[in-house]
Amino acid sequence: MRIASLVSRIFLVCTPLALILVIAAVLGLFLGTTYQSIADVLSAIVTKGRVDSTLATIVWRIRMPRVVLAILTGASLSLGGLVLQALLRNPLAEPYILGISGGSAVGAIAGMLLGFSQLQGVAFFSFAGSMAALLLILAITSGGMVMKKDSLILAGVMVNAFCGSIIIFLISLTQDRRVLNILFWLMGDLSMSSQTQVMVLAVLLIPCTVIIFLFAQPMNLLLMGEEMAGNMGLNVRRTSLVLLMTSSLMVSLTVCCTGLLGFVGLVTPHLLRLLLGPDHRVLVPACIFGGGAYLVFCDLLARILPAQGEMPVGVITAMIGAPLFMFLLWRSKR
């Protein structure tokens, strides 16, 4: 019997995923509504937009932040789903389905209406909103980590519907042009962010991913049940708290920049688990690369498919994710 060394396994898994991510990112930079030759785009990238051309502006000011945002968002939502699935021991758990994203959006809109304009300020309210949604769900399902699959999802659906109505309610009350885009909040979109916003998001997300990676083995132990996890030296309560707070923070930060993107946290973790097995020490880095690549591809489709203009990327993620959710639900019933 041989157990392949973990480090080499992580490396083996992440190299192809990183390659896919690079390919996705390159495609994201090159493809768009205005068609250019590869050489043009390359020269625009190399000159870093110093040369004053429309193409350089498009590539550097519009496509680059968008691709980076897609990577960050895909990675953080995938990790959010992965963490929730492990902690709640429920394969259907996902930030959007549980209404945590919805809570974040309500918080973010409330923060903006209260006059905060910087991402950090809005993110604070967004985080508070996500925690409120999470606490509400845990309270409805009577707390604890062992829960019935159905009641958890049902609670999520209700919290989600509630948040959706509050979002529309808040937006209809206001004249504030920053929050006026209902479609952005309800059907997430990657087109709204600036270079600086994406930079701030990246700086905030990186420590979160490090924390989650450090808690990868504890997530494995938690899957074996609280009793056994505790017997293997794990402080179950503290671990769950750290993981829930960190993943909620990641989700709320991304929601501030992208609105509600559904099912990303369902598709990538399940796909990767199917391919790589359930070890979170492999799955966490895999979700970062795989989730990033997945959302970049989804965004490409959202940009290329429409006959004119583009559609919100949330349409694509929901069209892929919802059927998968139904399949998982059907399988869990058997």
């Binding site: 019997m1 157990i3 973990l6 480090v7 021991r89 450090l214 990868a216 083995q217 494995n220 132990l221 899957l223 074996m224 049940g225 609280e226 009793e227 056994m228 505790g230 017997n231 293997m232 030296g233 794990l234 402080n235 688990r273 097995g277 359930p278 070890d279 020490r281």
Partner: protein, 277 residues
């Protein structure tokens, strides 16, 4: 001999309901110690206290000479390994992955296993005879295989005390004996203290160095098999009629329950319960 576990005046309440009352006993290092008693007598609760999962409301517990309250979770994991009664089994981990998890209390920040950890895992799998299943998934095993994997995981933890909660409950007779023998081997070869909860009075009588009989959270009897496995004591505790004679294989008592007329556990229980209050 040193004491592996010392329990003194232990009280546990669920809400206001007492589950364990003034329980005092100790387990010597290297002992095969079996806890028996009717359903709801507090056996599993006692196991949860020893494995650090439940905090006592009053009284004290010492593990390897150190008070339980002063031991960190991690160093408790180095001292006590647990095979719980009904852990989740729908996890898609492979056998090797589950067994290797037993090393996690010994790993550093990034939880990367080294060569030595792999070797200990392989030894543990050989010990419980599951090496051939290393790549099989936990949720695809039979009950007997699963139990052996969980025991391998606990052995892999390399703790001085192994605590098992009804490890033979859903197994056929051959698998039951196999598990009991494995624990005996672990005890004699590695000097590990075995603390086991069991419902099988005959297995307990055959294998235990000492038996602890619990009844409604009280100690009804403790000692060698011939002192605890007695018709009067067991009838009063379990509330059914039974015959105790000599086991034909070993110098220990054998229990045969009498079917029919006296099998009214609940009413008899209540009587015993009231008398003790």
């Amino acid at each position: 001999m040193k004491q592996a576990v010392v329990v003194q005046d232990l009280n546990i309440l669920y809400g206001k309901l007492p589950i364990l009352r003034n329980v005092t006993f100790s387990v010597t290092e290297g002992e095969y110690f079996i806890i028996i008693g009717p359903n709801g007598s507090g056996k599993t609760t006692l196991v949860k206290v020893i494995s650090g999962f439940l905090k006592p409301h009053s009284g004290s517990v010492e593990i390897m000479g150190r008070p339980l309250v002063a031991i960190t979770r991690r160093s408790l994991a180095h001292a006590v390994a647990l095979v719980p009664q009904s852990p989740p089994m729908d996890v898609p981990f492979t056998v090797a992955e589950v067994v290797l998890m037993g090393r996690s209390p010994h790993l550093g920040l990034l939880s990367l296993e080294g060569r030595e950890d792999m070797e200990i895992a392989e030894q543990s799998m050989r010990f419980t005879n599951v090496s051939h299943l290393a790549r099989s998934r936990l949720d695809q095993l039979s009950a007997g295989e699963r139990q052996r994997v969980l025991i391998a995981r606990a052995v892999c933890q390399r703790a001085g005390i192994i605590v098992l909660d009804e490890p033979t409950a859903s197994l056929d007779v051959a698998h039951q004996l196999h598990i009991m023998d494995l624990m005996e081997k672990l005890r004699t070869e590695q000097g590990i203290t075995v603390i086991m909860v069991s419902h099988d009075l005959n297995l307990a009588a055959m294998y235990a160095g000492r038996i602890l009989l619990l009844n409604h959270g009280n100690i009804a009897g403790i000692g060698a098999a011939r002192d605890v496995i007695q018709a009067g004591l067991l009838e009063a505790t379990y509330g059914c009629s039974l015959l105790v004679d000599q086991n034909p294989f070993r110098e220990v008592p054998r229990v045969t329950p009498a079917p029919g007329e006296f099998a009214q556990p609940d009413s008899l229980h209540r009587k015993v319960f009231l008398k003790q209050d």
